[in-house]
């Protein structure tokens, strides 16, 4: 029996296009690199510290949870690294180490593994963690406090907070080209608008994220901000300001597109993206928080299963 030739009998198809979770994760890490590098350039070693700690902690938590839940070790698929990366990107460079450790623990346990791991999470794990930090440790996420001791050659006040407090007059102090080139305070990986756009475009062209969601989210932001701006040009900043300031672009290309918390059909994708975009502006302009991206996307994560019920009629179905 030992020397008998045995054939393998697996089911069709016998071809595969070669894509894997690992490849997708690594390309996501690569796409985020320009934005992260700019953050490290602007904020220096503290930013590098946050990123390194966040990614390594996330991987470690994944390993610990794999072991604790007696599951195969899934560190190699890179998903934990992506969660760590996204969480780190959203944090200011001065975040204390224990917030990073705690945040990644929340992301991996409450965000991912209590639902069963990769693909089972109803909410974006990185956003669950950042929302926890925003609610629990208000000072940590306050950009004006975070960058108090830094010297920048651009206005060092949180642009969204300034606009919320002083209206469009404050927006005039900032330059949109500066935002594009990473001249604003914010999370480590959220300030370089151009880099995020390049990374996002790369992911879209490679087919690794769904362009419908990113595009409709941006359109939602622009339209809602434009309407607000039109209604009261002195109070509400214009659409381009909202597009380039805060978490908008990292949200559009890296957060809202997370697979398992977003819909897959065409109409739901557009509704989901546009809805989250409008909600972001609503929170920014009339809500209690400075930046609405986190809670707007989390809210629409919850709406995802309902939205995805809108689907095309399958071949040969009459009803």
């Amino acid at each position: 029996m030992l020397n008998e030739k045995l054939l393998v009998g697996s089911h069709a198809p016998y071809w595969h296009n070669g894509i894997s979770i690992r490849e997708k994760s690594y390309h996501t890490l690569m796409a985020a690199l320009p934005a992260v590098l700019m953050g490290i350039y602007q904020f220096g070693i503290p930013a590098l510290r946050v990123m390194a700690l966040s990614i390594s902690c996330a991987i470690l938590w994944e390993l610990i949870l794999n072991r604790a839940m007696k599951r195969p070790v899934t560190v190699g698929d890179g998903d934990a690294a992506v969660i760590g990366l996204l969480f780190g990107m959203l944090l200011p460079a001065t975040t204390p180490w224990w917030v990073v450790v705690l945040g990644t623990a929340v992301a991996l346990t409450v965000g991912k593994w209590i639902y069963g791991g990769l693909g089972c999470n109803p909410l974006n794990p990185a956003l669950v963690a950042i929302a926890t930090v925003i609610i629990s440790y208000k000072g940590v996420m306050d950009l004006d406090q975070a960058y108090l001791n830094f010297n920048f050659d651009f206005p060092a006040a949180d642009p969204l907070k300034a606009v919320k407090a002083f209206g469009t007059v404050a927006a005039a102090r900032y330059s949109l080209t500066g935002f594009l080139m990473g001249q604003q305070v914010g999370g480590v990986g959220t300030i370089f608008a151009l880099g995020l756009m390049i990374g996002g475009l790369y992911l879209i062209l490679r087919g690794l994220i769904r362009w419908e969601i990113s595009l409709s989210y941006i359109v939602g932001i622009l339209v809602a901000a434009y309407v607000f701006n039109l209604s009261n040009p002195e109070k509400y900043a214009g659409p381009w300001f909202h597009l380039l300031a805060g978490y908008t672009l990292v949200g559009a290309f890296f957060l809202i597109t997370e697979d398992s918390s977003s819909p897959v059909n065409f109409v739901p994708m557009l509704t989901y993206g546009a809805g989250a975009g409008v909600m972001t502006i609503l929170i920014r302009n009339v809500g209690g928080f400075t930046d609405g991206v986190v809670f707007a996307i989390l809210l629409f994560n919850v709406a995802n299963p309902l939205l995805d019920k809108i689907r095309p009629r399958a071949l040969g179905r009459s009803k």
């Binding site: 008998e4 030739k5 045995l6 054939l7 393998v8 009998g9 697996s10 089911h11 069709a12 198809p13 016998y14 071809w15 595969h16 296009n17 070669g18 894509i19 894997s20 979770i21 997708k24 069963g116 791991g117 990769l118 693909g119 089972c120 879209i204 062209l205 490679r206 087919g207 769904r210 362009w211 697979d259 398992s260 918390s261 977003s262 819909p263 897959v264 059909n265 995805d308 689907r311 095309p312 009629r313 399958a314 071949l315 040969g316 179905r317 009459s318």
Partner: protein, 428 residues
Amino acid sequence: MIKRPFFAITKPKLRCSRIWTLPKETLVEIPLPRKVTLLVKGPFPRVGELMIRVGDRVRTGQKIRLTADRGDYFIASVTGTVSDVSPHTGYMGAGFTSISINADDQDQWDEAFGPLAQEPGLQTVMDYLASLPGASDFGSLLSSKPALETLVVLGTDGDLLVTKNQFVVDTEAEALAQGIETLKRISGIPKIVLLLPDYFKTEAVKTGVEVKRVAPLYPNTLPRMIMKNLFGKPVSAGKRCEDLGTGFVSAEAVVALQKAFSQAQVPIHKLMTVVRKEGTTVHARARIGTPVKDVLSALEVATHHGDQVVVGGAMTGRPLFSEDAPVDGDTDAILVQDKTQRIPSSDSHCVNCGECVRACPAKMPVNLLIRYLENGHFEEAAEDFDLLSCIECGLCTYVCIVRIPIFQYIMLGKQENARIKSAEEAHA
């Protein structure tokens, strides 16, 4: 394997193999095997009812009935002695009777069909040609209810890598044209359409028959897609194309039918595309019932422990568990894959990436369907998540990022649904 392109914003484009791009190879005739195994579809008869026994002598082309009262029969493809009669279970639990015959060196042709071939008629077809190479259920196709209004002769090959039908159209154009005429005359089907790939030269086939063309992009070459795209008649979920009055038959079967009448011999050879491990293609012709290992050894294709041998194309083929399995009337291709080329499936969860939904030509909610199938909710899958709309193309599995064997789950779901339905009918 075709790699995902660098820019992959749209759904996958898989071109079917074109015969023109293949190197000009002659047809390889596989030598007469020492033993053939013939499979007859249907439940295994009770032993006492069997009309064929071990030790019986059979002649080439002889029609042999399985039982006295059942209509099913088979045509012996060699002259020799019956060495085994046993039940056999095929794909999706289909029952067969397997008859093995030890072949003599010389063929002795049976005389019964010769005189009947002078007058081609439907009764002769039903009596001798109900199972043709390339259409093992030809008889039931012609007698299907409701009567067929359209018969599509496939000059295209459904699956990727297979070029057998294109080869037939290319090399047997004249016999094909005559075959279509014969078929029209004896079957009485009002409309016969020849389907060709759009790049095929028109002068290759000179028939009076209506020719339709299809872009050889997978899965447009599958019958249900042809129904939707070419005829504008999408097949309802759970129904067959025949229920809408349209049948499909391969060009190979039509040529076999024509040759049966012109040469006064029942066809006993099967043409197939053989794809070697390195991807090169060759066409081979073997006696029906030849073991696959004889075909492979005649073509000098070596297989090793852990390799995969597939009957059919890359997307919809079926695995062989043993190389002793025979070539039957539906063995359109044999695909050999090295163990390093295999794509192992995984038991990971669906990550909801949506690639399957984008790729699905039937617009099924594959991402939701797979969750129900994985957990054994087959009836909900059929009722609420369009399981029965599946055209069985395999594209969902081809693009799956976590490599779930979706196609296998779908076929399991269909089989379980059929089983539940038949059990309910039996107890009604």
